[in-house]
């Protein structure tokens, strides 16, 4: 559906996008991931024909973005980072305007307007001025205008930025539900969003594509050897960490067992196995048969976050959104009198 070859955008002094190549199949949801300023918006603007590439080509549904721009524009729905709303217009009036702009008219226009009002759940604000809508509603109106002409391709630039957690969830669900009919590219710098919504991920940093794969493969790839976390506890209250570690290491297939955390009456080990998940059963049996309790056994998949930081280098750390736990500074101890 989308083919991008050596796409490059250079400004006077900087290269915003540097020889990017990728392709997206029909019906896929692709996450475009990168720290702020990595070139996500620039790439999307080239795909939507907002501005032409300096070098390289991109085709959407077989049409070149530069030479067959009008054909491409008819097939693309675009939600820029800030929804392009005319604040002095009413929702329904605005949607009719965009619909007409995209070539709809008459009964077909009314049908599509009614459809997107329903689909994006904005029917209750259809007579309100866009300037009076809350951010969540504005975002949904933005999505509605993007899908009004039933485009083959949807390009969404940070569709959940600035929303509250409930709205973020609703928007993600909405986007997911659109995936069947449309091919979707969405950009974000929020990692869980990609894990939750996308099937394929493109990671971009400083204008260069650093990784492109399915979310699943990417996790597996970064994980390297199969590893698991196992939490073992002793029933009788006498727990000997070394003995347990020793026992685990003796299981065939286990290459290494590292103590991760010592608990009050047990411990967590990270177990690396060369034979993959097949070891799990043996591991569980060994622990139980030795008379210990098996509290938890799970694969220690590297989160996309770690992969991301690993791929984009440490300079991205400051820019990437911190995970919610870390965002909140630990509560200060009670002030001394």
């Amino acid at each position: 559906m989308i083919t991008v070859t050596d796409l490059t955008k250079r400004y006077a002094r900087t290269t915003a996008v540097d020889h990017i190549s990728f392709s997206v199949h029909k019906g896929d949801i692709v996450g475009f991931l990168g720290p702020n300023g990595a070139g996500k918006t620039t790439t999307m603007r080239m795909l939507t024909c907002f501005f032409p590439p300096t070098a390289g080509t991109a085709t959407v549904a077989g049409f070149d973005v530069f030479t067959q721009s009008m054909e491409v524009r008819r097939r693309i729905g675009y939600l820029p980072e800030a929804p392009p709303l005319y604040l002095e217009m009413e929702t329904i009036e605005y949607l009719r305007f965009v619909g007409r702009l995209k070539g709809l008219s008459g009964a077909q226009l009314e049908r599509r307007v009614a459809y997107v009002l329903d689909r994006c759940n904005i029917g209750d604000v259809k007579m309100k001025l866009l300037g009076k809508l809350s951010k969540g509603y504005r975002q949904r109106v933005g999505l509605a205008q993007a899908i009004i002409h039933n485009p083959d391709v949807l390009i969404l630039d940070e569709p959940t930025s600035g929303l509250d957690p409930k709205q973020i969830n609703e928007t993600r669900e909405l986007i997911k539900s659109l995936a069947g009919d449309h091919t979707i590219i969405l950009s974000t710098h929020i990692l869980p969003e990609v894990e939750q919504t996308c099937e394929q991920v493109l990671i971009i940093n400083k204008g260069k594509l650093v990784a492109t794969d399915s979310v699943h493969n990417l996790q597996a790839r970064a994980r390297g050897a199969e590893s698991m976390l196992i939490e073992v506890a002793a029933r009788d209250g006498e727990f000997a960490t070394a003995r347990v570690q020793d026992r685990i290491q003796k299981i065939p297939g286990v290459s290494r067992a590292v103590l991760k955390e010592e608990l009050q009456n047990g411990a967590v080990f990270e177990v690396e196995a060369s034979k993959g998940q097949l070891v799990r059963g043996d591991l569980a049996r060994a622990v139980v048969e030795s008379g210990w309790d098996l509290n938890e056994l799970r694969p220690s998949a590297m989160s996309l976050e770690e992969i991301f930081l690993q791929l984009t280098g440490s300079d991205a750390v400051a820019e990437a959104d911190a995970p919610p736990e870390a965002a909140q500074p630990p509560e200060a101890p009670e002030a001394s009198a």
């Binding site: 024909c49 907002f50 675009y78 217009m89 007409r100 702009l101 995209k102 070539g103 205008q145």
Partner: protein, 255 residues
Amino acid sequence: MRNIWIICRRELSSYFTSPIAWLLLTMYSVIFGWIFWNFLGEFIKQGLDMEMMGQASPMNVNEQVIRPLLGTSSFLGLFMIPLISMRLFAEEKRNGTIELLATSPVRDIEIILGKWLAATSLYCWIVLFASINFVFLFRYGNPDWKPMLITLLGVFLQGAALLAVGTFISTLTKNQIIAGALTFGACLLLWVFSWVSSYDSSTWAQVFSYMSVITHFDTFDRGVLSSKDAIYYLSVIFLGLFFTARSMESLRWRS
């Protein structure tokens, strides 16, 4: 064609929902009405004076009321034009709605024409609305309507030309105030260029005088339909819109 109309209609409706159109309509009508009242009062007083002195020299409503009034209204337009044109592109650039227009299956020239047409028709409507005052002249007098229409056409053409310049200036910035101030400056400059002809007749003076919008308004003001002056206005419109198109194109390549 259809796209031009779509853009134009939205633009017009936004002039009226953001109260700028109503504001201009009111202000212009009040000022125009006041000036009309004054010209008319003077005309009537002059008529009475002549009657009292017993000398009945011919008087002309066209020459003494309509013509100076429309001349003044072309001057009033000078203040109104920046207010109409400044938002055309500057607002879209600030709100990000330009991204919607520029990625829709609409050609740049259709966007530009739609916006300029909306601005021009708003301007013409405001002038026409204020011209309702002339109805009284036709009701109680017998003015010649042909030169009046030609002068009105001159007012429209001058407005359309300056609005094309304003449209171009609006593409240069995100800031409506800057766009408005620049447009006002440009309009004023195109106005005062004609002054040079009063004391100088060198080639340069003639060039500057030719560039002035007011030089070409004079013939229309006299009720003369002159193709030469109409062509001047049409070429200013063309140039203004042409530069707007180039400016939008460069926006795409640079941004």
